[in-house]
Amino acid sequence: MGQVVNQGVLQAKLWYAQRISAMVLGICVAVHLVMIFYAIRGGLSAQEILGRTQGNVLFAFFYEVFVLACFIHAPIGISNILQETFPKMGIAKPAACILGILILVLGSTAVVGVYSGGAL
């Protein structure tokens, strides 16, 4: 019974984390859309885009926040969907962990890559 209760409280905390990260994502997506317009002004080549975004600390900080919000939000949601769709397969947790790690590593790599221009 104790474990069931703890599980419930943990799920409530995850729900809260997902809700807060959704609020952050809402703002991030809006800013990102504006950022796209800024980044593609006057030329769509990688070099031209990097010329406007590279080396900007604010840019890097914003996108790392974006990555972290995705890292929290998406695995919780995927885990819930998988648990409800395939309740007996036990794939919800491993799939959520893999997705979380992928988002964090690939996302952060992309942020660092754009910030440093591949120097690191």
């Binding site: 209760v5 599980q7 419930g8 409280v9 729900w15 809260y16 409800e84």
Partner: protein, 243 residues
Amino acid sequence: MSNTDLKVKVWRGAEQGEFVEYLVPRNPNQTVLDVVTYIQRKLDPTLSYRFACRVGMCGSCAMTVNGVARWTCRTHVSQIVQGDALEIAPLNNLPVIKDLATDMREFFNKWKGAVGFFKGEKTRYDDFAKVQPDSEERQLANAGIECIGCGVCYASCEVVESRQNYLGPAALNRAWTLTNDVRDVQQLERMRAVAGDAGCHACHSQGSCTEACPKSIAPTASIAGLKKLVARAAVRGSKWGKL
């Protein structure tokens, strides 16, 4: 058969069974419960179904009529008849005992599981608790207090269908009304009981319960209230303590 007869298909059997068609005379102001009662009294006395008050108070007579869960005593045939056909089945998401009677034990056990019962600390020697009618808690409790326990919301809920251990809209609505009862002393225990994926956080907010509720209660809103309250209590604590 006259031109005004209703063709009524009624579920006969338990989990395994079939629809059997009966012809029932059409009357003005006839309810679905009248139709079922006519079949049992005039056509086939072995038909099993449940009812008590016939005026929408007791919550016994809910069935699936033309694919939708309804209280049959307050549902007029004229409101829902498709041509001259009615299809009457037991409620979804509950084991069928026989014909139209379902086993409601799990439904009510889940009310208990959600700590959906009152416990105060005052005795007969204490003064009455004074609850202001316009206080926020009283208003929130009022919104969900008229539940008659008919099981229509439970039978209409997609999450109940897919998650065996989900407490369901009626139990969670009851928990929410008690959460807003300032006299109750089981708040932490109740919040623990309704937290997580077997409780309020599994709700998809699809609103089928709210759409189907014959008493126009909005369990979806009650569950949303619980979600916020319980999650905050788990992370930041509540006026009753931390989970």
